[in-house]
């Protein structure tokens, strides 16, 4: 195994990609999606929130003050009476170990949404959620933004694989592969070098999505880890498409099919209720989606994170084993 050759393959694939219009379109797509989701996301910042809490709950008061103005009530009865008035006020108070949310029922959807997110933040042990820096004051991640972010990150895995697939197809079509096969490069070096792009592209696009969607601070280490592990399925599918497609045209057709297979669990996972989600347990992108969602919502600890990552690995491994014979067969003709 020689690092020189691995990096060389990576370098050339990158240059080849940059000079390919199709690849450029592929790489720009997630950025456009990010802007789209940024635009359609409701701007919670513009909401003027009015909270009511109990006078003796100092910590609750301090937490809520970060998000809007807070009125104090002496008793639960007064609190409920206050919420019942005509303005959109929301009561949040602590009862024993847990927090209660009290709504009148006629608040705007956005306010209700925000109230629930804050409640979730207070309730989870993850106090980081409430420790926003000054600049992050009063910032909430709307569900559409969470969806947009996970969607963009997951298409970046698929697109990273597509770039790999396109490079392979082109090498096959030009016959350059054959020339490479009479050099000392090993198959493993070629595969590794070629895979780097499938990891780098999602990492860059995830980073851009965070910037464009203007997401508040989150656990970047977990985000990077889940991005790297999730890229593997994109790489595997990219290699499969590359070796089974005889031309760019059939490559595009195969990419459409596999792209939808990988994205469907994400889209439906958002829509379907929790109890039906088991039907996507086979899909690595479903598990990536689940982790990403929780990372954005600041509601995942290391142990459940690790378990979800193991799920990603397991499902990727299973799908890889299923595809392996096709890939091997394809590689043979690809090499000849």
């Amino acid at each position: 195994m020689r690092m020189k050759r691995i990096l060389s393959v990576f370098r050339i694939d990158t240059i080849n990609g940059i000079r390919d219009k199709m690849v450029i379109y592929i790489l720009v797509a997630p950025i456009i999606f990010s802007f789209f989701f940024r635009i359609i996301a409701p701007d919670f910042q513009s909401l003027s929130l009015l909270f009511v809490t109990l006078r003796d709950q100092r910590t609750t008061l301090e937490s809520l003050e970060k998000f809007g103005s807070v009125e104090l009530a002496s008793s639960e009865a007064e609190l409920k009476e206050r919420v019942g008035r005509s303005d959109d006020s929301v009561a949040i108070y602590k009862e024993g170990e847990s927090f209660n949310l009290f709504l009148q029922g006629n608040e705007s959807e956005e306010i209700e949404e925000v109230a629930k997110i804050i409640l979730a933040g207070l309730q989870s042990d993850n106090m980081r959620y409430l420790n926003f820096k000054e600049s992050d004051q009063g910032r909430f991640v709307a569900p559409v933004t969470v969806f947009g972010f996970t969607f963009v990150v997951i298409i970046s895995f698929v697109l990273g694989g597509m770039v790999i697939g396109f490079n392979i197809i082109e090498e096959k079509e030009s016959g350059a592969m054959r020339a490479l096969m009479v050099t000392p490069i090993k198959k493993s070096e070629l595969i590794l070098g070629r895979s780097i792009l499938g990891i780098i592209i999602p990492l860059i696009q995830t980073f851009l999505a965070v910037l464009i969607l203007d997401l508040p601070t989150m656990d970047y280490l977990k985000l990077i880890i889940v991005t790297i592990f999730s890229s593997v399925i994109g790489i595997v599918v990219g290699f499969l498409i590359g070796v089974i497609s005889s031309s760019q045209m059939s490559g595009i057709a195969n990419m459409k099919i596999s792209g939808w297979l990988l994205l469907m669990p994400v889209i439906l996972g958002f829509i379907l209720p929790e109890r039906l989600q088991f039907i996507f347990f086979w899909s690595p992108t479903y598990w990536s989606f689940a982790v990403l969602k929780d990372i954005v919502n600041h509601s995942i600890n290391w142990s459940s994170f690790t378990i979800q990552i193991l799920w990603i690995c397991l499902t990727t491994a299973i799908l890889f084993l299923l595809m392996m014979s096709r890939i091997k067969k394809g590689l043979q003709t690809y090499l000849n």
Partner: protein
């Protein structure tokens, strides 16, 4: 340097052989040519020798390495030039060479020097996709020299090139032989075989019909010939006749006696004529 015995190859699971039981040896430092028409099995043989196609049946040793079990080090020592240009079309000429140079564990040639040798220095920074077919072919040729190979495989090295480029490439091949490179070369052009090869094998339909040096072949088969053009029944006819074979001599005499002769000149037998005589096939179909 190369030993091949009883080599068969079929693209279609034993239905018809592209290579049909050939055996030959290439000595160190010689240019060994495979001469035969299109579809004879030349490229297939080269691909098997270079390890690009599996050895289905037969034994091949190149530099004492069994080709069915090659190691990366084997590829450090061989160079392969292909019949059809197979380049990274979005990379420039120089990038193509640099990329391949980075694959080797042995000292490599300077890409600029190689491009200069094949007359592509001026277009080094243009993409290979913008090159003409001839330029692409020269780049593929140059690429095959990047690792200073000990054994060099050339598939139709000058076919489709203009005469002056072709002459330059031929000079390069001769130079490499002087440096001691062993060269396996395929061609359907008898002039190439005649000019470059120390020994040639005639190959048709996957079978070798003879192996010898062009000089020996011409000594053995190259009886004096006469090319004659004459008018018979109002139309112009053309014939080549041997000066030693009786039937031909009689025909020549009768032509001289009875027909109107337009042109007549004696001529050495060419490799192509010997090829036709031996194999019953023409080189250009």
């Amino acid at each position: 340097m190369i030993q091949v015995s009883d080599l068969y190859y079929s693209y279609r699971k034993d239905k018809g052989f592209a290579v049909n039981g050939i055996s030959f040896e290439v000595n160190e430092g010689e240019i060994f040519g495979f001469l035969g028409p299109n579809g004879a099995g030349k490229s297939t043989t080269q691909k098997i020798l270079a390890g690009l196609l599996p050895v289905q049946k037969g034994k091949i040793r190149v530099m004492d390495v069994d080709v069915s079990a090659t190691t990366p080090d084997f590829y450090n020592k061989i160079g392969v030039s292909f019949e059809n240009p197979n380049l990274y079309l979005k990379l420039t000429g120089i990038e193509n060479l640099e990329y391949f140079a980075s694959m080797y564990d042995v000292p490599t040639e300077d890409p600029v020097h190689l491009l200069d040798m094949v007359g592509l220095k001026d277009v080094a920074k243009r993409r290979a996709g913008e090159y003409s077919k001839g330029m692409q072919q020269r780049l593929v040729f140059a690429r095959s020299l990047i690792n200073k190979p000990k054994v060099w495989f050339l598939d139709e090295p000058v076919s489709g090139l203009d005469p002056s480029t072709s002459a330059a490439i031929k000079e390069l091949i001769k130079e490499k032989r002087k440096e001691g490179t062993t060269i396996f070369l395929t061609t359907h052009n008898m002039h190439i075989a005649d000019e470059l090869c120390d020994r040639v094998a005639f190959i048709v339909s996957g079978e070798i019909s003879l192996i010898d040096s062009p000089r020996n072949l011409k000594l053995q088969h190259g009886k004096k010939l006469v090319e004659i053009e004459y008018r018979a029944n109002g139309s112009l006819k053309r014939d080549s006749l041997s000066l030693v074979q009786n039937a031909d001599r009689q025909k020549l005499n009768s032509l001289l006696d009875h027909e109107v002769i337009e042109t007549i000149h004696s001529k050495e037998a060419t490799l192509e004529e010997i090829f036709i005589k031996v194999t019953g096939e023409e080189l250009e179909k």
